[in-house]
């Protein structure tokens, strides 16, 4: 059993209980122990970075400090949190003057960034630590030829110089984890392109247009569903389809799942425990297919 401090972030607890519940259940079945620490805040993602980069570093570092104090590596479910925390963690580890500056700020909050822990995305833990074999060995439900359009989003992989997970031009870790569940990960056009999620709220029309292309490309390739690992991609594509109905008068009805949900299903978690009612686009077709 490996323990991690769970960095939950803002969006998941506020909007996606179905993500959280499936992740907690799946990870616990794979012997990953999640520790909830007191006092965590927002990770300072791009919207905060846009206001002040150095403040954002300090906020991210503050959260890392809590994990350092608990002597636990950190795990995130959200790619946005993963990216902002890792960028802060790695940058501060390497840039002494910046670290000193940030520690000057953190001193006000009684913290000191030491650089003693790692930040990991749960997909990274599944891929590098748990491993496909262990997942395969625990599978309790067949995927019945499910054709999955995998979508890893941006901030799991990029900026690759800092995140150092998988190969950003030829990513394979995520697809392998999907195939490990018995589903088929299919190719579709512009698979690695952004979903536009970060423009939601500021330029909804653009965000929606980008998301729409994604939905269309995946549908064209014959996907049964898109599986995401980031709450923003999920919201953009799931909720987005509701908006597409009113904006474009289109009904795509392409189910969007979190990877943790697919994983929970494969591991045999009772469907009733997964709060699937939170999906805007119903996933009954998927449930039927995998029995």
């Amino acid at each position: 059993m490996t323990s991690y401090s769970l960095f939950l972030g803002c969006t998941i607890p506020a909007r996606l209980p179905n993500y959280e519940v499936s992740a907690r259940k799946a990870l616990s079945r794979l012997d990953i122990d999640l520790v909830d620490l007191e006092g965590m805040t927002c990770c300072a993602p791009p919207p905060v970075q846009s206001l002040d980069l150095e403040t954002s570093l300090a906020i991210a570092a503050y959260n890392i400090c809590l994990s350092e104090e608990a002597d636990l590596d950190m795990i995130t479910l959200c790619s946005g949190c993963f990216e902002s925390l890792t960028v802060a963690n790695e940058t501060l580890k390497q840039n002494e003057p910046l670290k000193a500056k940030v520690n000057g700020i953190l001193a006000e909050a009684g913290k000191e960034f030491k650089g003693s822990i790692e930040v990991k995305h749960y997909l990274q833990v599944l891929s590098e630590e748990v491993g496909k074999e262990k997942i395969k060995a625990n599978i309790a439900r067949k995927m019945g030829n499910l054709r999955v359009a995998s979508f890893s989003g941006c901030h799991l992989l990029r900026p690759s110089k800092i995140l150092k997970f998988d190969d950003t031009e030829h990513p394979h870790a995520y697809d392998e984890l999907i195939e490990a569940l018995g589903a088929k990960s299919i190719w579709y056009r512009n698979k690695q392109k952004c979903c536009g999620g970060l423009l939601r709220g500021y330029a909804d029309d653009i965000a929606l247009a980008i998301a729409r292309e994604k939905i269309i490309n995946a549908s064209k390739a014959g996907a049964d569903c898109i599986v995401t690992i980031c709450p923003f991609c999920y919201l953009t594509l799931d909720l987005g389809q509701v908006l597409m109905k009113s904006t474009y008068q289109e009904e795509h009805n392409l189910p969007i799942l979190h990877y943790s949900e697919l994983l929970s299903l494969a591991l045999g978690v009772d469907v009733k425990e997964l709060a699937l009612e939170f999906h805007k686009i119903k996933i009954d077709s998927i449930l039927n297919k995998i029995g």
């Binding site: 190969d167 031009e169 030829h170 190719w187 056009r189």
Partner: protein
């Protein structure tokens, strides 16, 4: 020892200087100095009667040390030294100083002070004169034979030049056949003639006319007397020294006897083994026994060790009419002796598979320019047809992508300089033969800087080649239609294009040939930051290396086109001739010498020597000492600055000379600003002091100049001694940090100054009292400015006071 008789000659430059310098005062000062036996004043001393006066003084008055104050630095020095030598005086006993440019001109507003400084300068020369020792001329043997490494365009040309001039030449080529990258490229821009036409026969081969001099196929390269060609061979060891190298070569077995093979092709016909032909971009197969293309040298087949089954098969052995196939050949090691080496190893295409977004190596229809060149070659795998390698179908749409792996900080910073022209050449060739093919070139900037290159660009436009200003982000592949999609912004229209195409040509960077690093280590020459061989001076000595006797040409120093490679080949050949022509190398012993008694074998100096002139020698059972090669040593003194035991000295500029000059030049003051000692190198640093005078830039007389061969000579002790002897500050004036005439000298002294500053702080002395200045000749005003600024700074700091106890 004979008594010292010092003759001092003061030129007043046609009385121009008399308004500034009080010559009577100076002369009476000089006459007071013991050992100064002659003081002459005149208009000029570097030619005519002035020069005769010097000669007479040497001959008749037996003056044995000469100090001449004369302007026209370098020129006057050369003339005076020549005349003195002819009169029987050793060259090292002559000192020429420049009172005009180093004293009178820059200090013309303060004549009294200038006179005092002139006296200090002369006293420094007198003190130095007292301890000078003679320098002798050395001779080393030079073999009139040359090794040329690399059988491409430049190597072949250099070899031919040298052979024509009667030198023995060994041309060695790593591959089984001559030709290099140019031959593989098929044709040349901007003339579109064939690239195999890269070599001429010599004028000795009477049957071949001048007009056909260019063709390797028809050339008599093998017939040139004195030229020995070693293909399939590599240099594995170089020993000896310039003028007399002993080279060890390894020749890989060819398994076909060069003297017996008649290129009848019977062996290849019967050979049962087929493998992809890497020379032809794997677009066709070849046999295990093969020749790359028909027009090759040597006209001898070769067996590919990797694929041949040797004695299990022997079909070729049986069929060969001349019994040329020899399956039991072994690698041969041989040694040759040469006087000089020309490196012509060229460049190669960068492997673009690292640029993952372009999917080279993954998508078969993404190929490089060189691979396309094979397709365009009539002798090549498709006989000149343009196909999609993935399915062999004709390509109807082609997109070129420029700057692939070049001008890209992730891979190679630099512009490879010839890829634009190569793509234009290919586009033109395609459009000329197949006008219906759609050709687009995606570029960042089109660079067509050579003669007739811009017209070539124009021709491509006339032929309908489309130019898209934009660097593609990605090449993707639609598996259903088997087309490639090039995703690019037309930045002029600000429009996004997804170009569907059958074939993508990557104009990849050109990078150093394989084994460049290894060869550099064998030859002990430098490579630059991009991995190419480093020339001695890119501006004036582009075909020389810092090692005498080793020369460079062609793409070995940077990607270049055929005309530039040819020119460099001729240049390198000429340099080699110049070096070896007399059969001996004559050199002054202006070199460093290690005092073996004191050398402690710490092994720091060999690392610091930029010329690899220092080796470690075992002198008895217990002791190893450093030893300087008089041939390789260039007399910079960087080793002097390095030695932690101070056991090395320069014959032509001993540390005791520096010390006596330092003391003397600071001993006469005559002004009230803080004294500064400026150590200048004899190259850019000293030249900028000269030009400060020539441009009449003012700076105060407190700045006293002492020239050293290279700033890399200077030790921290020299700075401390200057301070101890009254200097309030020390300036070190040398070349630009990447322009040191001795490669590393300025960087060495920069580091030593840094260390000195650390020490000065500990001694309670402001570190800014010692400062480095990088200048070049045209920056005389900059030197004057620096001198003024340093003076101002020291005035602000206030005087350095030593405790009385010290």
């Amino acid at each position: 020892m004979e008594n010292l008789k010092i003759g001092v000659f003061l030129s007043d430059c046609g009385k121009v200087l008399t308004k500034i310098l009080d010559f009577d005062n100076i002369i009476s000062f000089l006459k007071e100095i013991p050992d100064v036996t002659v003081v002459e004043r005149g208009t000029e001393f570097w030619k005519g009667s002035g020069l005769q006066t010097i000669v007479k003084t040497i001959k008749e008055q037996k003056a044995n040390r000469i100090i001449v104050a004369e302007s026209l630095p370098k020129l006057s020095e050369i003339k005076i030294v020549e005349a003195a030598e002819a009169a029987g005086l050793n060259q090292n006993f002559v000192q020429v100083i420049d009172l005009k440019n180093h004293c009178a001109w820059p200090h013309r507003n303060v004549p009294k002070e200038a006179t005092e400084k002139a006296k200090a300068m002369l006293l420094a020369s007198v003190e130095r004169a007292k301890i000078l020792e003679p320098i002798h001329k050395l001779e080393f043997p030079a073999l009139k034979s040359v090794l040329v490494i690399g059988g491409g365009i430049s190597g072949i040309q250099a070899a031919e030049d040298l052979a024509d001039l009667g030198f023995e030449v060994h041309l060695i080529e790593k591959a089984p056949f001559l030709g290099g990258i140019a031959a593989r490229a098929g044709r040349f821009f901007p003339t579109d003639d064939c690239a195999a036409c890269i070599q001429s026969p010599t004028s000795d081969v009477k049957t071949i006319t001048h007009t056909s001099r260019k063709c390797i196929y028809r050339s008599g390269i093998a017939a040139i007397s004195g030229l020995k060609i070693h293909t399939n061979s590599q240099v594995i060891k170089v020993e000896g020294q310039p003028g007399n190298y002993r080279i060890t070569l390894e020749k890989k077995p060819r398994y076909v006897n060069e003297t017996k093979c008649i290129s009848c092709n019977l062996c290849s016909e019967v050979c049962p083994i087929e493998v992809p032909d890497e020379y032809n971009a794997n677009l066709m197969n070849r046999k295990a026994i093969y020749a790359i293309v028909p027009n090759i040298y040597p006209p001898t087949y070769v067996i590919d060790e990797q694929s041949c089954k040797f004695h299990e098969c022997e079909k070729c052995v049986q069929v060969c009419p001349t019994k040329a196939v020899e399956l039991d050949q072994k690698p041969e090691i041989s040694t040759i002796n040469v006087g000089a080496i020309i490196v012509a190893t060229g460049f190669k295409e960068y492997d673009p598979s690292v640029i993952k977004e372009y999917h080279y190596g993954e998508y078969h229809d993404v190929i490089t320019n060189l691979e396309l060149a094979r397709m365009l070659d009539a002798f090549g795998p498709t006989g000149g047809r343009i196909i999609r390698p993935s399915d062999g179908k004709p390509a109807r749409r082609i997109v070129f992508v420029q700057c692939v792996g070049s001008r890209d900080k992730r891979w190679n910073d630099y512009c490879s300089s010839i890829c634009c022209m190569i793509s234009l050449k290919h586009a033109i060739m395609i459009k000329t033969v197949f006008p219906e093919i759609d050709v687009s070139i995606c570029y960042i900037d089109i660079r067509t800087t050579g003669r007739e290159h811009e017209e070539y660009y124009e021709k491509a436009r006339e032929l309908g080649v489309k130019f898209i200003k934009g660097r593609p982000t990605e090449i993707s592949h639609d598996p259903e239609s088997n087309v490639l999609i090039v995703d690019v912004e037309d930045s002029l229209l600000r429009r996004f294009l997804e170009l569907e195409t059958d074939l993508v040509i990557l104009a990849t960077a050109m990078v150093p040939s394989e084994d460049t690093q290894t060869l550099a280590e064998i030859l002990k020459i430098d490579i630059d930051k991009d991995g190419f061989f480093k020339e001695y001076n890119a501006k004036l000595r582009p075909t020389e290396t810092k090692m005498r006797g080793i020369f460079l040409c062609g793409g070995a120093t940077f990607p270049k086109d055929a005309p530039s490679s040819s020119l460099q080949a001729h240049s390198a050949a000429l340099k080699a001739v110049k070096f070896l022509n007399t059969g001996k190398i004559v050199k002054d012993q202006r070199t460093a010498v290690v005092n073996e008694e004191y050398c402690g074998d710490c092994e720091f100096c060999p690392v610091s020597c930029p010329y690899n002139a220092i080796e470690l020698v075992k002198i008895d059972e217990k002791h190893v000492v450093a030893k300087v090669s008089d041939l390789l040593c260039e007399g910079c003194g960087i080793c002097i600055g390095t030695c932690p035991l101070n056991a090395i000295d320069l014959r032509h500029f001993k540390q005791s000379e520096l010390l006596s000059q330092t003391k003397a030049i600071l001993s006469i003051n005559g002004q009230d600003k803080p004294l500064i000692l400026a150590f200048c190198c004899s190259e850019c640093g000293g030249a900028s002091v000269d030009s400060a005078g020539m441009t009449m830039s003012n700076y105060p007389t407190n700045v006293r100049i002492v020239k050293v061969p290279c700033t890399g000579y200077l030790r921290i002790e020299h700075f401390l001694t200057a301070i101890k002897n009254g200097a309030q500050g020390v300036m070190v004036v040398g070349c630009m940090s990447d322009g040191c005439h001795h490669e590393e000298g300025i960087k060495m002294v920069e580091k030593r100054i840094d260390a000195a500053k650390t020490l000065l702080k500990e001694y309670g002395i402001e570190p800014e009292r010692v400062e480095l200045f990088n200048t070049i000749f045209v920056e005389g005003d900059k030197f004057a400015e620096a001198a003024c600024a340093m003076t101002g700074r020291l005035e602000k700091l206030g005087p350095l006071r030593f405790s009385k106890e010290v």
